[in-house]
């Protein structure tokens, strides 16, 4: 191809029927990708099997010591805990949701990240795993916590309830302020 041919390759007139051909090619609506909910962390809290998006769960750690905060500890705020050299408020989601935890007490805590630098520690009974969340959530079968949940989904081991993390953080903030 000569220099002049190369230069005129894109400047030539439109071939006959090109526009119609292109229109036919573009017309079919491509199937939209299925909505992805991303991965969720499954955990046990008392009798409840709950899930939270992994984007808000930074870590799981053993509960070593919760320092009580005068005048505050005892309700939703349990106290302060240390995590990787930081002091974090430790809150009881069980009390917030008004569910009883197991008698053995919380063995582990989840470190939840509301936003960068804004962490909360939340005692739980056990971490049950990480899954890709089902694309289609059903309505929560339990009438107990409807306003706390985004929905529920079936897993091999049973039904999990996906917590509405926005609402959870808002309620934790209000309950500890």
């Amino acid at each position: 191809m000569s220099e002049s041919q190369r230069a005129s390759l894109f400047d030539r007139p439109m071939p006959p029927g090109y526009r119609d051909e292109l229109q036919v090619l573009m017309a079919p609506e491509h199937a939209k990708p299925a909505p992805r909910r991303g991965s969720v962390l499954l955990f046990q809290l008392g009798p409840l099997r709950l899930a939270l998006p992994t984007r808000v769960t930074s870590a799981a750690s053993p509960v070593m010591h919760i320092a009580r905060v005068p005048h505050r500890s005892g309700t939703v705020l349990l106290g302060l805990v240390a995590f990787r050299g930081e002091i974090l408020p430790c809150c009881s989601v069980a009390r917030l949701l008004d569910v009883a935890q197991t008698e053995t007490g919380a063995a582990r805590m989840l470190i939840l990240q509301e936003s960068p630098g804004r962490l909360w520690a939340v005692p739980i009974d056990a971490v049950l795993g990480i899954r890709l969340a089902s694309e289609h959530l059903s309505q929560p079968p339990t009438p107990l916590l409807p306003h706390w949940l985004s929905g529920s989904f079936d897993d091999d081991s049973g039904v999990f309830h996906l917590l509405d993390d926005d609402n959870l953080f808002r309620q934790i903030t209000l309950a500890t302020a």
């Binding site: 905060v69 240390a82 936003s115 302020a177």
Partner: protein, 777 residues
């Protein structure tokens, strides 16, 4: 000036408020002009103007009310999207200059000052409202840019060789385009839906918190290199641990193998001998490893210590950097007062934490001014007393027992203890029977009370009794304490004891209700084991011939309380109280971390730390605990009125002038009053304590009055608490909003009247001096 508030110290409160708010306004305006402001800055400036307006109204400065009202309106308009241009920012800054000037005007000259500035201030207010000025003179005065141009034109004297300057054409079509400062409000366009705005509040809060945390510290390149080399040493030491782990692992496997051999061939003498030999070899290896580990641990500790000291050293600055203005202050003040003073500064290079250093100049300036004005005599008086005409004022900084100690010593007349005693009696600050027995040191403590002065007259410089109280507050905020000592005729010494750094403090660790807490050493007067005596409800202990009420620390911290045992108990003495604890644990040095701001102010707690095990540990705020103890009805004079206590009222307002005015009014009527600065602080108090009435402003930072009242009404325990809203907002819709939120009365500050206000209080909680409402007896 208004005659309704005769107490002149309200004007002092106005000054203090003006000083604080003017600083906020000036900082905010400069940020706005530089384009570095946020919606929060605009909000803060609007609130500052609003608070100033309220304070000015209380002291009857109508001219200032008008000016600050115009400023507030203009900030509100800016929040709505009408950006401030550079000329308006100039005008606002000029307004703050007037407020600063007014702070320095003696109360007796305020009327004169107002008269001489009235035209210009009115013109400025009109300009902010967007109205044209009424006269050319006003325009010039109100607009500094124009005023400067006019001055420049007029400054050319007749006959001068410089040609007269031509005033610029200011007709609208020739005016240069004004630089418009971006309105932060515009940043929120398109974010109007409720849910979104809720989230914005939270995210904005988070950003602000992070912004607060992200402060910068400058380091020299040498120090930085030193830190880097220490970090590298620490890294090498840490990696050595891994190799020790490998050796120990080999050791462990060899011992295991030997034991297995012993089990398999226990009867064989050769095998037993081989195992014995192997075990002896492994024991020798272990002994070497233990010795190496010991050496390595010590080296690690040394490296970590050096690293820590080096990092800490990065925060330290020489003392003289914090007192740059003191020499000038001494020169100007002594000249103004006709005194001759020689200033001597010792320990200029004493290392001080930069956070502490930043807070030193104001209290030291107060003390120096006080010394020259109050303590040092006029040259003639000094000569008559046999002293050199030139007084000696010595400022000394040094480290003592791990603390920074600063002394301000003058060789003036000293403080007459009898004069203090007389004031204490006159102001009824202590029971008459105890006053004669007060020691000189105890009498000097009264100097730090708000409004206490030994002077009969006030001056621009001192004598209002504000200074020493402010000095004490500032020093306490920096984690320190201030004491005074004096010899009549020979001089006075003020001694400031501060932590060398705010990052690390020495504490006593104690147990209360089984929980470990720490108490800053500087806040502990004594510790002792003493058996409490007296009434079980009001136990006391005797220490150094003085009786101290005993407060169980767990009880004041809201924890579970066990009865005091009938034996000596561990007691921490602080602020006139003996705090009983479960056990003294030890002393320690702790690195101080601020409490998570999401928790708000926690009563009795000042900060947090991590102990050597990495567990959180709270540092107690002894001043707060002492104040709470002093306010406990079982320990205060209110109990002398029998079983019934005066209704306890919580007053919430972000203006301390308004707050103080309401408090005084209510206290004079016999009520017990607590105060809070904003809705959030009030909400914390309401949840923790019992109140009979809430009186709240509407516009407040953090949580406004409407939100507060809504929360109160939504709380089962507080739902029936009587509430009065007292606000500047006087439109019908404002009133309806307050009443719909649940207020029992909605009063406006604009038409404030003592009688109406007190009647509303009486209607809701009854007279302070009578039985409570509903009590038929």
């Amino acid at each position: 000036m208004s005659g309704s508030f005769e107490d002149s110290s309200l004007f002092d409160l106005f000054r203090m408020e003006a000083e604080e708010q003017v600083r906020a306004l000036q900082t905010g305006l400069i940020q706005l002009e530089a384009g570095a402001s946020s919606a929060a800055t605009l909000e803060a400036m609007m609130r500052a103007s609003h608070s100033l307006k309220g304070a000015a109204r209380i002291v009857g400065l109508d001219l200032i009310v008008g000016l600050t009202h115009a400023m507030e309106d203009r900030f509100v308009a800016a929040q709505g999207g009408r950006a401030l241009d550079s000329a308006e920012i100039d005008r606002m800054l000029r307004a703050t200059d007037w407020l600063s000037e007014l702070e320095a005007v003696a109360e007796s000259n305020v009327a004169l000052w107002l008269d001489s500035n009235a035209a210009a201030i009115d013109a400025c207010a009109a300009g902010l409202h967007g109205h044209p000025s009424t006269s050319a003179q006003d325009t010039q005065a109100a607009d500094p840019a124009d005023a400067q141009t006019a001055e420049a034109a007029e400054s050319v004297a007749p006959g001068s060789e410089e040609p007269p300057r031509i005033r610029p054409d200011t007709s609208p079509d020739r005016q240069p385009e004004k630089a418009t400062v971006a309105s932060p409000a515009s940043m929120f366009v398109g974010k109007q839906d409720d849910e979104k705005s809720d989230r914005d509040i939270f995210s904005q809060q988070g950003q602000e918190e992070r912004a607060t945390r992200e402060r910068t510290v400058r380091l020299t390149a040498d120090r930085f290199d030193y830190l880097l080399s220490l970090s590298a040493e620490a890294l090498v030491s840490a990696r050595q641990l891994a190799s020790w782990g490998d050796v120990l692992d080999r050791n462990h496997r060899a011992i295991g193998k030997a034991l297995q051999l012993l089990e398999d061939a226990a009867e064989s003498p050769q095998a037993r001998s081989a195992v014995h030999g192997e075990l002896e070899r492994q024991v020798a290896v272990l002994a070497t490893q233990i010795a190496d580990l010991d050496q390595g641990t010590r080296a690690n500790e040394r490296t970590a210590e050096r690293l820590y000291r080096a990092v800490l050293g990065g925060r330290l600055r020489p003392f003289h950097e914090g007192i740059t203005g003191v020499a000038r202050l001494v020169r100007d003040t002594s000249r103004e007062l006709g005194k001759s003073v020689k200033l001597e500064i010792l320990g200029e290079n004493t290392q001080v934490d930069r956070d502490i250093l930043d807070r030193l100049e104001a209290p030291i300036s107060h003390l120096v001014t006080n010394a020259i004005d109050h303590g040092i005599e006029l040259p003639a008086q000094r000569a008559a007393a046999g002293k050199p005409a030139e007084a000696h004022l010595r400022l000394h900084a040094g480290h003592e027992n791990g603390r920074l100690v600063i002394t301000v010593r003058d060789d003036g007349a000293g403080i007459d203890p009898e004069k203090i005693r007389e004031r204490v009696i006159r102001r009824n600050l202590a029971p008459p029977e105890t006053i004669p027995g007060l020691s000189e040191a105890e009498l000097l403590e009264f100097l730090f009370l708000p409004g206490f002065s030994t002077r009969d007259t006030t001056s621009v410089l001192s004598g209002r009794g504000v200074g020493l109280n402010v000095v004490q507050s500032m020093v306490q905020e920096a984690g320190g304490a201030v004491t005074a000592s004096s010899n009549l005729g020979t001089g006075t010494v003020f001694r400031l004891t501060l932590p060398v750094t705010r990052s690390v403090i020495r504490v006593i660790r104690i147990l209360a209700d089984g929980e470990l807490f720490s108490v800053p050493m500087v806040r502990v007067d004594h510790v002792a084991y003493i058996e409490p005596e007296g009434d079980a409800e009001k136990p006391v202990v005797r220490w150094n011939d003085r009786m101290f009420p005993v407060i169980v620390l767990a009880s004041i911290l809201g924890l579970d309380v066990q009865p005091l045992p009938k034996r000596p108990v561990p007691l921490l003495f602080s602020g006139g109280f003996a705090f009983a604890v479960d056990r003294f644990v030890d002393q320690a040095e702790l690195s101080v971390r601020r409490l998570d701001p999401r928790l708000g102010k926690i009563p009795g707690v000042s900060a947090a730390s991590l102990d050597e095990n990495g567990f959180p540990l709270l540092i107690l705020d002894m001043d707060d605990l002492v104040q709470t103890a002093a306010g406990r009805p079982d320990l205060t004079a209110t109990s002398s009125r029998g079983d019934w206590l005066a209704p306890h009222i919580l007053v919430v307002d972000d203006s301390h002038t308004v707050r103080e005015m309401e408090r005084r009014l209510l206290v004079r009527s016999g009520y017990t009053v607590s105060t809070a600065q904003n809705g959030q602080e009030a909400w914390n108090l309401l949840r923790l304590k019992e109140y009979d009435l809430l009186i709240s402003d509407v516009d407040m930072p953090q949580m406004n009055g409407i939100e507060l009242v809504t929360r109160v009404r939504g709380n089962p325990r507080l739902a029936r608490l009587p509430v009065i809203i007292l606000s500047y907002k006087d439109r019908v819709e404002d009133r309806n909003r307050g009443l719909e939120a649940g207020a029992d009365f909605y009063l406006t500050k604009g038409s404030f009247d003592n009688g109406t206000f007190l009647q509303a209080v009486v209607d809701l909680v009854g007279e302070a001096a009578s039985a409570p409402p509903g009590d038929g007896n």
